[in-house]
Symmetry: C2
Subunit: 344 residues, 2 copies
DNA sequence: CCACAGTTTGCAAACGTATGCAAATTTGAG
DNA sequence: CTCAAATTTGCATACGTTTGCAAACTGTGG
């Protein structure tokens, strides 16, 4: 082992300075003369020295690690967000420690405890909710938390989401404009703010436009549940001619079920609109009309909020909502629909 | 802040023992009397004490962090692997620190340096290659490395892959059996062992069966490149009647291009076979015949190899290949094909 | 009741870095 | 060239844990 463990002391010895000098050269805010910097950098380079982050973390309390708690990775929206978050944080000198929380609540508590063991500088939660006392614990420990793509009432945590209510409204406008009059909704999980908000915006806007309340089934953000919901909807005497599905992941399942299992045409028999605009939505097989969640902007906002809170613990809690456009594609055409009674 | 920083010393004081006793209670291998354990655990619980991992990491050199270097997350195979790896490692008390390597080689070097800063106990690389001197550096630093879903020649690193050569052969057998005689291949990136091995198994087996060498285009594991390759193949005077595409991710693009853009029928005009069996392959829109990569087994083998190497640095380097079945689906039916001259 | 082996315990010294403090050095103005 | 102000430097300590060592304690057979 030629280059096993090089400490700042060895570098100091070789550079002919004190250990503190070496430390200062590698500490951003510290003062050192140009001459010292030069000598130390040279010696460090020759020995292949790099500061030991663990030692540094212990003394400063800053690990430069961000804990990410994530539940599902099968909805492509999250892997993408993870990738972008990781890149954005790497650019700032942070890295992501991943914690997968199958789902259950008590697991989240245990996970946060583990996170604190690692002295993480901040926590990002994605597709998962934290209990109130847990957030209290984080606050007490002084760990900034930002919720990504999920809000939570009655908890003073920063959160970044897309403008879900506005998105739901856009879809209502779009479907009404396109001439649909039997409109249904397979909603996102009603236990999540995203699911509720999208549904609320959608239903409220339909009501404003004088449309009857849409039939709604909770799809639970689950493919099978969404497929079952689609079957239920279409088995009725007067099936819908348009369905807003609470996210793209479920929308794909719904389209598969309609086309493959029920022999229906999308969009001719039923128009389908999703939410997220994951890459697959643009694939020809689905060509899904959907509302885009601007991942990059959401990621940037999340990172900014977190970094700000780490730098200044007094930074205020904020709820950021980022608006995303409706992307019209083939599964729900934009133009006025020719009158057509669909199935019946 | 009620519970800010509780150290082992405070617990010791409250429990009426020495600080070392507290440490020993929380250190698996250490000895402590039942009475002491009881007292310490009680005091720790009352104060909400948890050992500081950073301090522990500094002194033992073990961080219980595994570095994961991953390039793309848009091929669903990797998010799934990440999720499974994270779960498997969490079960062993380890966690994953994510490093996204866009792709470039020099980035990987920098990333490994950063990894070493964090004193990671081990490294898993997925969809990315390490240079030889880099592996030397890791070996020198005593950091075990396991390559996931990628082999590398001339480098003594442990690697876990599926049986790619065998998989390629299975596909050759399958397509020949189904009666195809104009067989082409849009290969995985030839810079990767997976791409090369699948191609080799496929081409070798076709030759063994007395078939002419298939036409091969490198799809680079990229959707656009694969689509372009599909266009090129089908634009020929005698287009293929079956294409083996190097992974599912590209196969979806190929199917979209064939059906949407070229107006061809899959499987009637061209049969398509993929590789990976990501969840989307089972979706009705694609219903893709493919060779399954047994993610769970691959993950388990990876974790086992890594843990073994961490526990015992002398553990031998191993190459594990796990065989996966061909999953027949609609994109390339199993039964004998009725004679049919396809396009021409 | 004693000697002895086996446990358990506390003491103190690490681990590698950051940082307050005071001494030493450099800088700049007059 | 001188002196004060500003900057740089080294010393020593602290961070929270693990661990070798020797002392104290436990239980056992004679």
């Amino acid at each position: 082992m030629p280059t096993d463990k090089i400490t700042s002391l060895e570098v100091a010895k070789r550079a002919g300075v004190s250990q503190s000098a070496v430390s200062r050269v590698f500490t951003p805010g510290a003062s050192a003369s140009a001459k010292t910097i030069e000598k130390v950098k040279r010696a460090a380079a020759e020995l292949g020295y790099r500061p030991n982050r663990m030692a540094s973390a212990m003394i400063t309390g800053k690990s430069r690690i961000i804990g990410l708690i994530v539940a599902y990775l099968d909805n492509m929206f999250y892997p993408l967000a993870l990738e972008r978050l990781s890149n954005a944080l790497q650019a700032q000198g942070y890295h992501i420690l991943v914690f997968t929380a199958s789902n259950a609540q008590e697991r989240v508590d245990e996970i946060v405890a583990e996170l604190m063991d690692y002295q993480v500088d901040g926590i990002i939660t994605a597709s998962v909710s934290m209990s109130g006392d847990l957030t209290a614990k984080c606050a007490a420990a002084g760990i900034p938390v930002v919720m990504f793509n999920r809000g939570q009432d009655g908890v003073d945590l920063s959160a970044v989401t897309s403008a879900n209510v506005a998105g739901g409204r856009k879809i209502a406008d779009f479907l009404v404009q396109a001439g649909h009059n039997r409109i249904a909704h397979i909603s996102g999980w009603q236990g999540s703010s995203t699911g509720r908000d999208r549904q609320r915006g959608f239903a409220d806007r339909l009501a404003e436009l004088g449309h009857p309340a849409p039939q709604i089934i909770d799809g639970m953000y689950d493919r099978d549940t969404a497929s079952a919901a689609a079957r239920t909807l279409m088995a009725q005497p007067t099936p819908p001619d348009a369905i807003f599905v609470g996210n793209d992941h479920m929308a794909f399942a719904v389209i598969d079920t309609l086309r493959g299992e029920l022999g229906l045409r999308v969009p001719q028999d039923v128009a389908i609109v999703g939410y997220d605009d994951v890459p697959t939505a643009a694939w020809a097989a689905y060509d899904l009309t959907t509302v885009r969640q601007p991942v990059n902007q959401m990621v940037q906002a999340t990172v900014d909020l977190l970094i700000a809170k780490i730098a200044d613990p007094i930074a205020p809690v904020r709820r950021v909502e980022i608006d995303g456009p409706l992307i019209p594609r083939g599964s729900a055409p934009q133009h006025q629909r020719t009158p057509h009674e669909g199935l019946l």
